[in-house]
Structure formats: C-alpha cells, structure tokens
C-alpha cells in the first residue's frame, strides 16, 4: 500500500457533468492508498462524493472549506 501518494484534482467550475466525474477519472488509475483531494465549488459534491466513496469501497477522509471552494479528500481502497 502506498499511503503517501497524493493527487489533487482541480474540478472548480466542473458543472457539466460535474466534479464527481473528474474524481472518478483520477480514481480509475490511482494506486490503492492514494489520497485524492478534489477541489470543487459545487456544494452538491459534499453529498455525492462520500456516497460514491462508500459505494466504491474507498474511504472518505473529510472536507475543508476555503472561500467558496471545498477540498474533499478520498483515500482509494484496495478493491
């Protein structure tokens, strides 16, 4: 497991179809253990990303808000 690898996905302004798609694309090629930080200004991501992480067997590590931009962090699971 590579616990230290981190990726940042800048999905600010990703309204069509949305930030979760950008996260999915990054997650597809990420090694297990990788922490992906998703930058988004779509508040709906706060609901979708934890749901998606649970569904996919990833770990949702939480959110931070700076200005109007949320940073949502997901750790890729081993599935």
């Amino acid at each position: 497991m590579n616990q230290n690898k981190k990726l940042r996905v800048d999905a600010r302004g990703a309204f069509c179809p949305g930030p979760l798609m950008e996260l999915m694309r990054a997650a597809k090629d990420a090694e297990p253990g990788t922490e992906i930080e998703l930058l988004t200004n779509d508040a709906g991501s706060r609901k979708d990303v934890p749901l998606w992480a649970e569904k996919m067997g990833h770990k949702y590590l939480g959110e931070q808000l700076e200005g109007n931009v949320y940073t949502l962090t997901v750790q890729i699971g081993g599935n």
Binding site: R12, F15, C16, P17, G18, L20, M24
Partner: protein
C-alpha cells in the same frame, strides 16, 4: 516572413476559430504575412448536435452536412488529410499522405471520439446516436420498436453531457405520441449519484424523470453488454434487461494526440483553463472537446473559447499585448420532450440553474440549430 497558423480539426471548434482568425487577419493574409491552414480528415463539416434528432425522424442527414468549402472562409487554406504526428520541437505536423506542415502557432481542435470498443458487446447488442451511422441505425431500430424495456446507459466522459437526458425525455414523449408509452418501461442508468453530476441539474432531472415514470439506476458503471441475453451489466454485477438499448460510450481524445504523446491516458490535452495554452507550450493552443478542462465538451464551449482565443491570437500576431481570459462560459439548450425545452448557462464560478421548460425555448433551440451555419462562419 509568413507566420503559419495551423489548425488541426474541421469540427465546430476548428472551423469557427479558422473563420474568426481569417476575418480578423484578412489584411495580413492578403499581404501573405499570415497563413491560416486547417487540416481536416473529412471533406464535410457535420453539425453533430443534430444527431439527437435523427432517431426521431426530426432531422435528415443532409440537413446536418455541408461541404468544407461552404463552411470555411475562402482566405483559409484547407488541407484534406489526417494529421498523424505533431513534433513540438521541430514545430511541424506530419500528415498521412506524407506532407509535413511547419507552424508558428498550432491550434488543436482534434475533438472527442466515442470508444465503442471500450464496452464489449455494445456493437452487437446496443445502439447509440453519437455518430451519423449509429444514429441512423438507431432510427431503424426505433422504427421497429412497439413498446418494451428501454435502457439508456451512460459512460463518462462524453461530448454534450446533457444529450442523454434530452434523448431520454424525447423518447418518453415519442413513446406517448406513438401510443405505446404504457407498454414501455424506461430506465436511465448513470454512473454518478443521480441522473447528472451537478446538484442543480440532477435535482431538476430527477424531478422530471419521476414525473414521467422514468426509472433512474444510479452508480451504474457499464462493464459489458450481453447481446444473447439482452442485458447490460454494471461493474458491480447489476443486470438490466432490455428490448432496446441506447448507450453513450465513454469518449477519448484523438489518435494524433495519443501518437504524439501530448495528452493524458485518455488522450485529453492538458490545457490552461483561462489562456487555453497546451501546458508547457507557448505557441500551442487547445479548444473544443480536445481539452482536459472540467467543462462541457459541447459546441457552445467551442464557440465561447474560439471568441477568446481568436481575439488573443490576433493581438499576438499584431504584436500587441492584452490577453482575455476564458471564464468557462457554456450555454446549453435542453430538449425536455418533442415540443418543449429549457436551457442552462454557467461558467467556472456560477453553477447552472435550469428554468421551467417551455415551447418557446424549444423554438429557440430549433432556430439555433439552423443558425449554426452562420455561427460557424464566425459572423455572430
């Protein structure tokens, strides 16, 4: 010394930027200090948003096609060939027929392309409407459909993100008009948490779908199609049976991007979100579907990007400063049936907010479809 501006791609983005540049640089082109060249592997320009209407017999193929020489400004040099390799060190583009084109400025408008082969069994068992050929094949299938289970399944990313929602609502309306809505079960299978990826549009679409008795299957990531059993199977093993299957396959960037090692794994080009430069390249720009920007791969995106990029490039060629930033502006009409539509408008900072559908917006969209032929010339 002539400055060579080479544009790869003859779709909406490529034609629009070529025409805007030709209008803005007419004097320089006549004085032979600037040459604008478009490389396209097709003799025709296709209005791709029109594919949506083909399965319903609402548009005929000939309405969506014009020869390139009717679309492109006469001051633009057009080469009908396929770009095979881009050499950023030598600053030239290799073409399939053997020619090598030098450039001072290169614009990549190489588009996005559905990857049917990414979904085993799709070719044999399903349909799509993202190419002329597939839209006509779906039209034939719908001509022979008289009710049953319809599944619309979406893979990401794909061009015109709103089109699968439009198609589904149009299909529902069409089944009603045909008189077999009660015998028709419609399922919309989407890989995200709702029927769309942005909260405001997802909430709106979910409400519309619920009102029309369209079932939504969320987190459905397509694995394969089993044509023998008429089922589409998700990565987590869920099966949806169908009588008519319409799939939007995931798209990828162009082969020339992959072969030139300029893009990411899916051949999207890493692009600056405001200046539209290819990362690490001062004199290469990207517009339209080919970028890796987290915005719609859609004609309107190409339109707004082309306005900004043409302004900036004309300034650059005139030796002037002043670069306008692209702000992520996109405008999309959304058909919500055969006679009604809504629209969304958004940019990097402001999310979309769908308005209640009306027949007036539908008329506006119908008019806009015809306006494309003026729009693509860079006149509007």
């Amino acid at each position: 010394m002539t400055k060579n501006v080479v544009i790869i791609g003859g779709g909406t983005a490529g034609c629009m930027i070529a025409n805007l540049l030709a209008r803005g640089l007419k004097t320089e082109i006549n004085q032979r200090t600037v040459q604008i060249t478009v490389v396209s592997d097709q003799e025709i320009h296709i209005y791709q948003p029109g594919f949506l209407y083909i399965p319903f017999h609402l548009k005929q193929p000939e309405e969506l096609i014009r020869p390139m020489d009717q679309v492109i400004n006469t001051h633009v040099h057009v080469i009908l060939d396929r770009a095979t390799q881009i050499d950023t060190h030598k600053q030239n583009v290799h073409l399939e027929k053997g020619e090598s084109l030098p450039y001072d400025y290169l614009i990549l408008a190489t588009g996005s392309h559905p990857k049917v082969e990414e979904i085993p069994g799709l070719q044999e068992g399903g349909h799509m409407f993202y190419t002329m050929e597939s839209a006509l094949r779906l039209r034939d299938a719908m001509d022979h459909f008289h009710g049953g289970k319809v599944v619309v399944a979406v893979g990401l990313p794909h061009k015109c993100p709103i089109a699968p929602l439009e198609f589904t609502m149009m299909l529902e309306d069409w089944a009603r008009q045909q008189g077999f809505r009660k015998q028709t079960e419609i399922t919309y299978a989407y890989p995200l948490a709702g029927p769309y990826g942005t909260a405001s549009v997802a909430e709106w679409a979910e409400k519309e779908f619920n009102n029309r008795n369209i079932h939504i299957e969320t987190f459905f990531m397509i694995d394969h199609v089993n044509p023998e059993e008429n089922v589409i199977v998700s990565v987590d093993g869920r099966k949806l049976s169908y009588d008519l299957l319409v799939v939007i396959p995931p798209h990828q960037g162009a082969n020339v991007v992959r072969e030139s090692k300029l893009g990411d794994k899916e051949a999207w080009l890493p692009t600056h979100r405001h200046h539209l430069r290819l990362d690490g390249q001062e004199n290469i720009f990207v517009i339209g579907d080919a970028t890796n920007l987290p915005i719609s791969k859609a004609g309107s995106t190409a339109h707004f990007e082309a306005e900004i990029l043409s302004h900036n490039l004309i300034n650059l060629l005139h030796g002037k400063k002043g670069e306008k930033p692209y702000n992520g502006k996109v405008f999309c009409f959304i058909e919500t049936g055969l006679n009604q539509a809504t629209y969304i408008s958004f940019d990097y900072e402001n999310p979309p907010k769908p308005v209640p559908p009306s027949k007036w917006v539908h008329f506006a969209k119908s008019g806009y479809n015809e306006m494309h032929w003026v729009n693509v010339k860079g006149i509007l």
